[in-house]
């Protein structure tokens, strides 16, 4: 059995991070285009449509429904930034914890907005489960960011040992 060295592990991690960054970039682009397509009609209605209360209200309602997806897009973007940063090899630094925390906060915000708007729920158990899962992932990421911050502090101490 071949022994896995620290350098091998670091190279593997870098490859993984690069792959994940590419995947999230593709997902981000795809989701952005989908959102723009979805928002195009209501936006056009709002901008160039007749100034009637009913049509404005309908347009705003349709745009509001997109808010959770927009917030999840923020999480995707933060995820991209996280993996792009990790790809540089700087793992235990303050920026890592910051990106993970922001990603969690975007996800929590998306879950809360979906709960308030009620779009994803649609009265189904699956909707509730999806929201609960999303919220739990977001909160877990925020906690993980705290662990990373602690690890960064420990690493800083270790760096002062010669």
């Amino acid at each position: 059995m071949t022994k896995v060295t620290t350098a091998d592990r670091a190279t593997d991690l870098k490859d993984n991070f690069a792959g994940l960054e590419r995947l999230l970039t593709i997902m981000f682009a795809f989701t952005s285009v989908s959102l723009v397509v979805e928002a195009y009609v209501p936006l056009k209605q709002l901008i160039s449509g007749p100034p009637e209360f009913a049509s404005i209200s309908l347009g705003v309602e349709r745009l509001t429904r997109l808010l959770p997806a927009l917030l999840l897009l923020g999480a995707l973007h933060e995820g991209r930034r996280l993996f792009a940063h990790l790809e540089t090899g700087a793992l235990l630094v303050a920026a890592t914890g910051r990106h993970v925390r922001h990603c969690g906060e975007w996800i929590v915000a998306a879950a809360v907005s979906a709960l308030v708007i009620g779009e994803i729920l649609a009265g189904t158990q699956a909707g509730w489960a999806l929201l609960a899962g999303l919220g739990a992932i977001g909160l877990a990421l925020r906690s993980l960011a705290g662990v990373i911050d602690h690890a960064v502090a420990v690493q800083a101490d270790l760096d002062q040992i010669v």
């Binding site: 101490d157 002062q160 040992i161 010669v162």
Partner: protein, 74 residues
């Protein structure tokens, strides 16, 4: 109270330069300088062992404990 690093005394006794010692034990001169000034949080046993080997001394010749010295690393 704290640990006082007496590496500079031992370097002077052995008439060795910090740069040469750093090169022979394989650590950066900057790190040895930080160690000499006591601005580190700790010393690894292997670094200590290599220092003792190069300077032909005991760990107690490189560090000592002084109750009156404040701990600067906190």
């Amino acid at each position: 109270m704290g640990i006082v690093v007496t590496l500079d005394v031992m370097l002077a006794r052995r008439k060795m330069k910090a740069r040469d010692v750093a090169a022979s034990i394989g650590i950066a001169e900057t790190n040895l300088s930080l160690l000499k000034s006591g601005k580190v949080k700790g010393v690894r046993f292997d670094t200590l062992a290599r220092l003792c080997r190069v300077l032909d001394c005991q760990p107690g010749d490189l560090i000592s404990f002084d109750e009156a010295t404040p701990d600067e690393t906190d």
